[in-house]
Amino acid sequence: MSTIVRARPPRAFDVDAVRREFPVLARTVHGNPIAYLDNGASSQSPECVIAAVEGYMRRHHANIHRGVHTLSQEATGLYEAARDRLVGFIKAASRHEIVFTRGATESVNLVAQSFARPTLRPDDEILITHLEHHANIVPWQMVAQQTGAKLVVAPIDSRGEVDAQTVEALMSPRTKIFACAHVSNALGTVLPVERLVASARRRGIATLVDGAQAVPHMAVDVGALGCDFYVFSGHKMFAPTGIGVLYGREALLERMPPWQGGGDMILTVSFDGTVYNALPYKFEAGTPNISGAIGLGAAVEFLDSLDLGAAHAHEQALLEHAHAALRSIPGLGFIGTAREKVGLVSFVVDGVHPHDLGTILDRDGIAIRTGHHCAMPVMEFFRVPATARASFAFYNTFDEIDRLAASVERARRLFT
């Protein structure tokens, strides 16, 4: 008698169960069930995030860090508990390294102004890549202008990949800062950040990784990654808008001057001088987005409860399915064909402008993003004014992608 050794079946991901957690997925748009494929722009929130924000608003709202009364203490407790959740989420070394900001954009600006501006000298170089979101370009251009430093841009190739060796060749003794996306929002490319960060560190270059498009799709360990700064936004990881995170290595944050001045970031103020508060409060001037932070903490808790490996496998299966379903449409071309991608497809269709596509898909209840995706240099590189982009979350289904493909095909027929 022989024994058959069966491979273990792949862990199933229960999409239907996950979808029930997201109230918005039950609605219709123009009479069709919504197919929400614009997660790269902003993702939807599960019930527990909505409940956390609502619970705070209903029962605990008060200003934080400044009241002895019960509500203020409760609000402070909830806000700081959210910070602790984020420490675990990206494996930071301590809660001093988690600064709440308005989002990835504000986090990059904070680093540009508070870290880069005082240290950059004329002819120093800031190295970025060609596929960055404007949020990881413009703040560096601004600080370059302020300091006389130069912005150096590492190229991408026709697949939309960033070649590590090419970037390394651009790291010179003048390079002081290297900033790059973990995942491209316009192309879906996953960058070789581990290697790039390690190369930069070896050369004494400070590193910032823009994780806005990475955190919804993969486990991030900033300790293992070794970067100095890591930034992301809550609203792309199932939390509310207006809240995000700057992770910074404690020793660096310690040395940086505050960015904005005001309440909460001080210990004592007199007209002779002011003593700044300890980390992370030094960088959180004014009343912060308390409800947003609490919502973000709840989103992390939700993600912690998922089988992230299975969720990731499901997203990769969606990506494969999307490539197969869209590829058969005549005149459709993919923009961004990197070998390692998250669940995101950017494409153009001959004779159909992305904006018209967006309007037509919307009538079918399908939400995608059309435009330049705040990455105009990427559009220029691929010589397109805009693309259509479908970006997936683990709650998306194969059926939604079939609807996407059918709707794109209908639009093509209308215009050609």
Partner: protein
Amino acid sequence: MQLQDLYRDVILDHNRHPRNFGPLPEASASIEGFNPLCGDRLTLRLRLVDDRVDDIRFEGQGCAISTASASLMTEAVKGKTRDEALALFDRVHRLLTDDSAEIDDAKLGKLAALSGVREFPARVKCASLCWHTLASALKSPAPLPGPSVSTE
């Protein structure tokens, strides 16, 4: 509001075969329109003779709505005086933005095909870009190269 109201046959036709598309030698004004929201770019060139639009052509990249609107516009204003063209701009602007504006086929002619756009607020700028560009060219006929117009 149905999609067919937006993408009427006239619109589809002018998108597929834009009229007056291409460069215009001996233009008296050239002006760029830019919609930063979608990246649509349009260059409008016109030749005014005795305060009359003697010729007008456009070039650029845009969606069906902006291409068709520009194509229809060039047809509509060719031969018109500056004041007549500006009056038409006002009428089309109302048509695109004012839900209660009457759709007077007699005055609008083929341009009435643009009336579906106002039911799609996200697309109004696509249709109005070329018209704003025209208005600014007519209000201040600038020497080449002209200034830039933005819908923002």
